[in-house]
């Protein structure tokens, strides 16, 4: 095991105290909150809660001591950015007084209110926040499992997969076919597929202009579609083709040995195959019993508490949050909302529903940004769009607006990562 510094000490102090002190005193005086998952939702929630309730003992459980962010990782895939620009550590959380446990959580017992870590450590909680992100439904498309992803990367969790897809694009000869298989909803970052396609098309246009890109899609529509398609026609005519579900777009199976994607009526043998598989809430959510038959986690929108397990809250991509897309912006906003709700609940209050915003930028070229925004309120127990608000960038916006939105996209990434990790 790698040596651990202050984080480890905080963590040990936390578990030691938990063993020695009587539980009722702890629960009353120093409520114990565990957050599992240190991404945009979980890290935000843990930090916000500690600020709101300084006496709370907040423990963040996260398998990796370095976080690799997905937003902007399409820039890494296409050689515009270094992977290091995506990576963040948890030092600021440690300094803030959070306990950090860099181990996977393997078991959750809602009745006993404990989280078990992979080394057997048992952590008791008063409230638990699950922010596990997504996991893949391996085996869908048929033949696509973890081994296949080493040949046909998904690159939908940033890190080594992102670099693998980049290396494959760099190694591809001019004239090759790049194929992207896009899954049905719900999925993490639904517009990310089309941003990726755009930036790969930009890479091909500038570096390997005889190549072609095809998106095989299990959907018939996608957010910002008109803006994307207009930009593709303008910037990448004849280079990028989108094949919707109704035009035989759904990939049924894959053959990794030949890099082939199979649909109902066609076989596409690609030089580079990026298979983004169907998704579900992170596996620990299933283990905790907070995921329903859809594979995702229902929540009470006022508190993000699971209706399936008391004292467990779910935020970020894993949660069913109505009209809100599964984005980093949404995850961060939910993290703050959940922290506020827990602070009130610990104080004996009943939180009412809040209001949330989501803003998602996409780059269709390095200096060409478009956005979609939404404002959400709770109606009939679910987040729905506030009517008349939100929507996409204008379709007739001038080039200066597109350039400004590309700059705002970059500013957003700096801002949100500073708020969560800085």
């Amino acid at each position: 095991m790698k040596p651990r510094t202050r984080s480890r000490r905080n963590f040990l102090k936390a578990s030691l105290a938990a063993t020695l002190l009587p539980m009722p005193a702890l629960a009353q005086n120093q409520p114990r909150v565990i957050v599992v998952g240190g991404g945009f939702a979980g890290a935000t929630c843990a930090r916000t809660l500690k600020r709101l309730v300084p006496v709370a003992r907040v423990t963040l459980v996260e398998a990796n001591s370095t976080f690799t962010a997905c937003p902007f990782s399409n820039g890494v895939v296409t050689g515009l950015r270094d992977l290091r620009a995506q990576q963040f550590v948890y030092e600021a959380l440690d300094r803030q007084g959070l306990s950090l446990a860099f181990l996977p959580a393997t078991k959750i017992e809602p009745q006993a209110r404990t989280v078990t870590l992979s080394d057997g450590t048992l952590l008791p909680y008063d409230r638990l926040v699950l922010a596990p992100g997504i996991d893949f439904r391996w085996g869908s498309p048929a033949g696509y499992d973890e081994a296949a992803s080493a040949r046909m990367p998904h690159a939908w969790k940033a890190g080594e997969q992102t670099l693998l897809l980049r290396r494959q694009l760099e190694a591809m000869e001019d004239g090759g076919l790049v194929a992207i298989s896009a899954p049905p909803n719900p999925m993490r970052c639904p517009t990310g597929v089309y941003e990726r396609a755009s930036l790969i098309a930009h890479y091909l246009k500038t570096r390997k202009p005889r190549s072609k890109l095809i998106i095989l899609d299990a959907k018939d529509s996608f957010p910002k579609q008109r803006l994307f398609q207009a930009a593709w026609q303008q910037l990448y005519p004849g280079l990028l083709e989108w094949v919707p579900l109704s035009n035989d777009g759904k990939v049924i199976s894959v053959e990794p040995a030949t890099n082939t994607l199979v649909t109902d009526f066609a076989r596409h043998e690609a030089a580079v195959a990026n298979v983004i598989p169907p998704q579900k809430a992170g596996v620990i959510a299933q283990a905790a019993g907070v995921a329903d038959r859809t594979g995702w986690c229902p929540i009470d929108p006022a508190t993000f508490e699971s209706p399936l397990q008391r004292n467990i809250h779910v935020i970020g991509d894993a949660a069913i949050s109505g009209a809100m897309a599964k984005s980093a912006f949404a995850a961060n906003a939910q993290g703050k909302g959940c922290a506020a709700a827990i602070a009130l609940m610990l104080a004996g209050e009943t939180p009412g529903p809040g209001k949330l915003i989501n803003t998602c930028y996409s780059l269709v070229a390095p200096d060409y940004g478009i956005s979609i925004a939404g404002v959400y309120q709770v109606v009939n127990g679910q987040y729905v769009d506030v009517e008349g608000a939100g929507g996409t960038s204008l379709s007739d916006a001038p080039q200066e607006t597109r350039a400004a939105e590309a700059k705002y996209a970059a500013a957003w990434f700096r801002t949100i990562t500073a708020e969560v990790f800085g």
């Binding site: 506020a340 602070a343 104080a347 209001k355 404002v375 506030v386 500013a411």
Partner: protein
């Protein structure tokens, strides 16, 4: 005694003192800092783009510490379409006068 302000905009906006009061009742020593102060509806989302930390380089105007009247005026102008914008016109339309005022006061108080 810790319950200083109660904003009429939903429970996330309450400044709570129950826990503190309960702790006093049972004789535990808890500092006044323990009373959670949470933001009015919508406000928590703003800092996703409007950096709370002044050191962040961004073309997005800071709203923390800004005069609430300025924030209200800007939001009203975004909402009516008077003030050109990339996204704020779309976002401002999602908030009522009372909600905008509460958010403006929250950020005006240096949050």
């Amino acid at each position: 005694m810790i319950r200083k302000v109660t904003l009429p905009f939903g429970h996330w906006s309450l400044i709570t003192g129950h826990w503190f009061a309960a702790a006093c009742l049972f004789g535990h020593v808890v500092t006044a800092a323990a009373a959670p102060v949470v933001s009015p509806p919508g406000a928590a989302s703003c800092t996703g783009c409007h950096a709370a930390n002044a050191k962040i380089e961004t073309g997005v105007p800071r709203i923390a510490g800004r005069n609430p009247a300025e924030i209200v005026a800007a939001m009203e102008a975004f909402r009516s379409g008077q003030k050109p914008a990339t996204v704020m016109d779309r976002i401002a339309k999602g908030f009522s006068d009372a909600e905008i005022r509460a958010i403006a006061e929250w950020f005006g108080a240096e949050h």
